[in-house]
């Protein structure tokens, strides 16, 4: 017969072992916001590191694109490994929806997996990331919702166009127009946002207005996520081609290759 003392001893040992093994052993709430300094302003830090290798004039380069990783963690891990096998990409863009419910642990899991990427990573916000306190967590972890970057004389515009979850009517078109003004000097202009204009949260008016801005300011390509499906084509009669990245579940990664004569979207399966 096993004595009580032995059972208690075993139980305590099991508990102590488990405590040591668990990450983030103290968790006050799934809705907690507030990230560690080392996990903060990741986009700002990434832009600094990307621009260190940039030039004032155009030179051909490639970038990696993926998005809607949600909680498809195993596929997400494979995408990271796939990008790591490529030495010819200068940075990677995540097209938003890095979480399913915008909760604290999902942000930490994203941070954990994406930190395995050897290329600098820019992450834009998706509609799911606005749930719960995701709006705050995103800002703490990555920086401003809307931002721009100039790299090798190309303009990269990153727009937060989430509508329903913010309970607003329109994306910040004023900001978008402001940054696209006077952008003729750049070799290429790209706009990245999570939701494509033909998707449900956009009203017909907003869809039309978004494409008009793209057309008016000669944007070369409008890039999105949200639909979970790969699309690349001329969506409207006027305006640039549109691209949507698929979700991690589809087993695809994307590349944008730029050279003197133009650019192309390339899809590879892993």
């Amino acid at each position: 017969m096993v004595s009580n003392r032995k059972i208690k001893g075993l139980l305590s040992a099991a508990v102590i072992l488990l405590l040591g093994a668990c990450e983030n052993i103290i968790e006050y709430s799934p809705y907690k916001a507030g990230v560690k300094v080392s996990d903060s302003d990741l986009n700002i830090k990434a832009i600094e590191s990307i621009q260190q290798n940039g030039t004032d004039y155009f030179v051909p380069f490639s970038i990696g694109i993926f998005g809607d990783t949600h909680t498809y963690y195993d596929e997400f891990e494979k995408q990271v490994r796939y990008f790591n096998r490529k030495d010819d990409i200068d940075f990677v863009v995540h097209m938003g929806d890095l979480t399913l419910s915008g909760i604290y642990r999902e942000f930490l899991w994203y941070r954990d997996l994406s930190s395995g990427l050897k290329h600098p990573l820019l992450t834009i916000i998706g509609n799911h990331d606005y749930l719960s306190n995701g709006e705050l967590l995103y800002k703490e972890m990555f920086g401003p919702y809307n931002f721009t970057m100039v790299y090798n004389n190309c303009l990269f515009v990153f727009l937060d166009d989430v509508i329903w979850e913010k309970n607003v009517e329109d994306p910040d078109f004023d900001w978008l127009e402001e940054v696209l003004k006077d952008s003729e000097g750049y070799k290429y202009r790209f706009v990245f946002s999570h939701i494509p204009p033909w998707s449900d949260p956009f009203s017909r008016g907003n869809e039309y207005y978004y494409n008009r801005l793209m057309h008016e300011y000669n944007v070369d390509l409008s890039l999105h996520g949200h639909t979970h499906r790969f699309y690349y084509g001329q969506m409207y009669e006027t305006g640039p081609p549109y691209f949507t990245a698929s979700s991690s579940k589809q087993g695809e990664v994307f590349f944008l290759d730029l050279d003197e004569d133009g650019f192309e979207i390339r899809m590879e399966r892993f």
Binding site: S29, Y31, T71, W109, S132
Partner: protein, 224 residues
């Protein structure tokens, strides 16, 4: 999705009904079973001048009070509950998490109903009682909802206000001398997780067992 919500409501209602029913049945137990009476239901003498009144305290007074640190329901939480049977007790908690209390940049209020079962016969391990159960947590903060706001298409998101949190742990009970307000104090530690984490544990290889548990510590005061 809505089916799942209904089941949750049903479970909640059943728990509440059970608590009321068990309490009502316990109210006037047979005299020969006096040993089963908890201190609360014992008539208490109250002496006013020369008259002695016997007062039977209301069943509404809780059997135990709890103070808990961490465990998904706030930085600190306080609760009160009933020992509804020999092995089952339920506690209603209110917990808070804020900038000052827990270092979160946003405030979260959580109300939770913790259902806890003793895993072994009382006394089997002396003063230590292993427990397990499930807590139903209502989180109140930004952008949480039970019902989707009207501007969304139907079933666009699953509700994100109520979560089930399974837990297991143990309590060490220290008996106090008779005649005090509290007959004993329990010190407990618990490992808990969340429905959303368990789902990813099942669905993915990445989320492993060591990624889903967290620790709560607390004190229970058992009323005499």
């Amino acid at each position: 999705m809505f089916m799942r919500n209904r089941l949750l409501y049903l479970f909640l209602l059943l728990t509440l009904f059970a608590s009321v029913a068990v309490k009502a049945a316990d109210r006037y137990p047979p005299d020969d079973d006096a040993a089963r009476l908890t201190g609360l239901r014992k008539p208490r003498p109250l002496i006013i001048r020369e008259d002695t009144l016997h007062i039977r305290p209301s069943w509404i007074i809780p059997d135990h009070l709890k103070v808990q640190y961490a465990g998904l329901i706030g930085f600190m939480s306080v609760g009160a509950g009933y020992d509804l049977s020999k092995r089952y007790d339920a506690t209603l908690f209110y917990g808070v998490l804020s900038n000052h209390l827990g270092g979160s940049s946003v405030r979260v209020h959580t109300v939770s109903l913790k259902n806890s079962w003793d895993l072994f016969k009382p006394g089997l391990l002396g003063n230590v009682t292993p427990k397990a159960g499930v807590s139903i947590n209502w989180g109140n903060t930004n952008n949480t909802f039970r019902r989707l706001p009207a501007h969304y298409p139907e079933q666009y998101y699953f509700q994100n206000k109520v979560h089930l949190a399974p837990f297991w742990g143990a309590e060490w009970q220290i008996h106090l001398p008779a005649g005090r307000t509290f007959k004993s104090i329990g010190i407990y530690g618990e490992m808990s997780t969340l429905d959303a984490y368990v789902l990813e544990l099942v669905r993915t290889k990445y989320v492993s067992l060591d990624k889903i548990w967290n620790l709560a510590l607390g004190i229970t005061l058992y009323m005499d």
